[in-house]
């Protein structure tokens, strides 16, 4: 297996994800999504309660303290991509290590 090639693929994919999060997400529709629309139309939207972490530094996809709305949204998205990737690599790396221990496969 060509590991260098896989690394290139993952890096390329990450760049695409970061690009979507930083450049495209600020252009996304800000209309209510399907569930929010149903909740508004059917009259149960007001039962929603405040999120316990609504004051967090990235809450509602905005970076606290960044005034420009587009940059704030884009930056929060890019941070989210990095955090998700980082946690994912640790988690899936641990699962891979678990399989290696279990199978005792000879390392290639």
């Amino acid at each position: 297996m060509d590991r260098g090639n896989l690394r290139l693929f993952v890096i390329g994919g990450l760049i695409v994800a970061l690009g979507l999060a930083f450049f495209v997400s600020p252009l996304a529709s800000s209309s209510p999504d399907g569930l929010e629309r149903v909740a508004i139309d059917q009259g149960f939207a007001e039962t929603a309660t405040d999120h316990a972490l609504a004051e967090g530094p990235l809450a509602d996809y905005a970076v606290k303290g960044v005034e420009d709305e587009r940059i704030s949204t884009g930056l929060s998205g890019a941070i989210g991509v990095v955090v998700t990737f980082g946690v994912g690599m640790v988690l899936f790396g641990a699962l891979r290590a678990a399989r290696r221990r279990r199978t005792r496969a000879p390392t290639a």
Binding site: M1, R3, L6, F9, V10, G13, L14, V16, A17, L18, L20, V24, S25, A28, S29, S30, S31, P32, D33, G34, L35, V38, A39, D41, Q42, G43, F44, T47, A48, T49, D50, H51, A52, L53, A54, G56, L58, A59, D60, Y61, S76, G77, G80, V81, V82, V83, T84, F85, V87, G88, M89, L91, F92, G93, L95, R96, A98, R99, R102, A108
Partner: protein, 230 residues
Amino acid sequence: MHIPDGFINAGTSIAAGVVSAGGIGAALRRAAREMEDRQAPLAGLVAAFVFAAQMLNFPIAAGTSGHLLGGVLAAVLVGPWAGAICVALVLLVQAIFFADGGLSALGLNVLNMAILGALGGYVVFRVLRDVLPKRRPMVVVAAALAAWASVVLASLAFFAEYAVGGVGGVPLGAVFTAMVGIHALIGVGEAVITALTVSAVMAVRPDLVFGARDLAPGPGAAGPRVALEA
């Protein structure tokens, strides 16, 4: 599709949390047995990509938008178990860091989008793969149709949860019609994004697409079948 706190009562939310914890626990155990060397970084990438794509709300009707859920996309790329973990991870990051999706509703959201979305969606994908001709373009077709079905499935799941534990007490028939109707439309967007992404990966690295392994020459041909057996 992210349920906030307050829509569904505590008992129903806790029950969904127990089911979700069991489902993700099973997925973690399966992944710990099967996670291949090259799948680990790919799964991390898929989670990051689903996070980014979920931010891209597209307009579907007057004053309404939809976004990718990503369960079928993740499952087709990295397998149903790792795929479910990917979506659950995205939902966890969103709930904790972005205040998107209620903390008390995390179990509901994981059930609807990760368990039903990735695992349920993958079952639909496998059935379609079995019915459709054994050719590469059919992987994309099956992924697109399963992606649409997974969004409708998630909307049905929300309706069931609302019927059991909805707080607002509004007429259920109207909720059902509105919920499934809107998500049948949003599902078209899910199908398009899933098809575009799967075909892009198929074009560059078809060997990395879990749901197309039976078509790839060489070892690993048994992949998808084996993976869904209990």
